[in-house]
Symmetry: C2
Subunit: 207 residues, 2 copies
């Protein structure tokens, strides 16, 4: 009997209920406690009471635990832009996409905060996060072109939307007195419009 088969039999209940969720939770806890770099898949599996083999049925590697929602987020962004009313301006369509993503992230603020702390602490993960955001911008620009928005307006609106996402998300994640994420996106978008249309726009009364 080979070692592989033994492992197979030992994994009582091969299709563990919510194995994915348990593995993700165990991984995040370990990354936060001892660092992403220092954590092994063996430790994650042990903490979750599952096998390494089960881990690799759900995640390609350690990093994917932190990025597996990316495809879903891209679909969400693209759909929100496409579904915005025909009368919506490009920036309003981008705003709708941020609202949709914000609503999802807000469902589990504890996870979002923990994930952000883990990603911020590791250079490789910070780089991966930048790539994720660049991919988001591409997806949004493509969806805007799908609405007939010409270039460079589509790319400008998309890249600016991601700039707002970055700044507003950082604000929400660090500020305990901050309103919800969708509201923070709205505030930041309004603030950016003020910043771009001269300081007059942000001063309460004209001279």
């Amino acid at each position: 009997m080979s070692a592989t088969v033994i492992t197979y039999h030992r994994a009582v209940g091969r299709w563990e209920p919510n194995a994915r969720g348990r593995l993700a939770q165990a991984a995040m806890a370990l990354y936060a406690e001892q660092g992403f770099e220092q954590t092994t898949v063996a430790e994650i599996a042990a903490r979750a009471g599952l096998t390494e083999r089960t881990f690799f049925r759900h995640f390609a590697d350690k990093r994917e635990v932190l990025f597996y929602g990316m495809g879903m987020a891209q679909d969400l962004l693209a759909r929100a832009v496409a579904d915005a009313p025909a009368s919506a301006t490009p920036m309003e369509a981008v705003g709708a996409a941020l609202q949709a993503l914000g609503a999802v992230l807000e469902e589990n603020p504890e996870r979002a905060r923990l994930r952000d702390a883990i990603v911020s602490a590791n250079a490789e993960l910070r780089e991966r996060e930048l790539i994720k955001l660049a991919a988001f911008a591409s997806v949004v620009a493509g969806a805007l072109r799908g609405r007939g928005v010409p270039e460079p307006a589509a790319s400008l609106a998309a890249e600016t939307g991601i700039a707002v996402f970055k700044v507003a998300f950082a604000r929400w994640i660090t500020g305990p007195g901050q309103p919800g994420l969708p509201e923070t996106f709205r505030e930041s978008m309004a603030e950016l419009t003020g910043v771009l249309t001269d300081r007059l726009a942000s001063s309460p009364s004209p001279p």
Copy 2:
């Protein structure tokens, strides 16, 4: 006599005139011809008529040939923001920084185009480029805070400036009929203001 010493003596004219420039030119030509990944430091040195040892006196690795101007660019951006007139709005200060960077890049458009083609063709280099742009945004945000611009306005203006940089640079690099880079930055910034302040801003006459 050790191998090291022989190498030393073989490198006729240890301090070659413009070794750095010759190495950079040879490296860029090889990256463009056969790909970044496929090119070795030995090939670069041979093409430049210099030794590998000389290469490593000027560059830490193959990648640095494409990114060594980054520190200078950051200084330039920070100085341009700091030196903008006291009356300049945050976005005008960011605009001044883009103008300064654009003027430098425009000095050698051939190099800029070749470098862009090399970076675009390689995933690792594209990632490195994203990290560079994120660092630019941090530097600009810091310089804005140094002018007394509060957060989140400083980060929003800086990230948006980098968004404009990305889109305008891509436009300039691919469009042969495009005006100069500083002018393209100006155009894109104006276009973004139009996009953000509703479509009315970009339509010539009100209904």
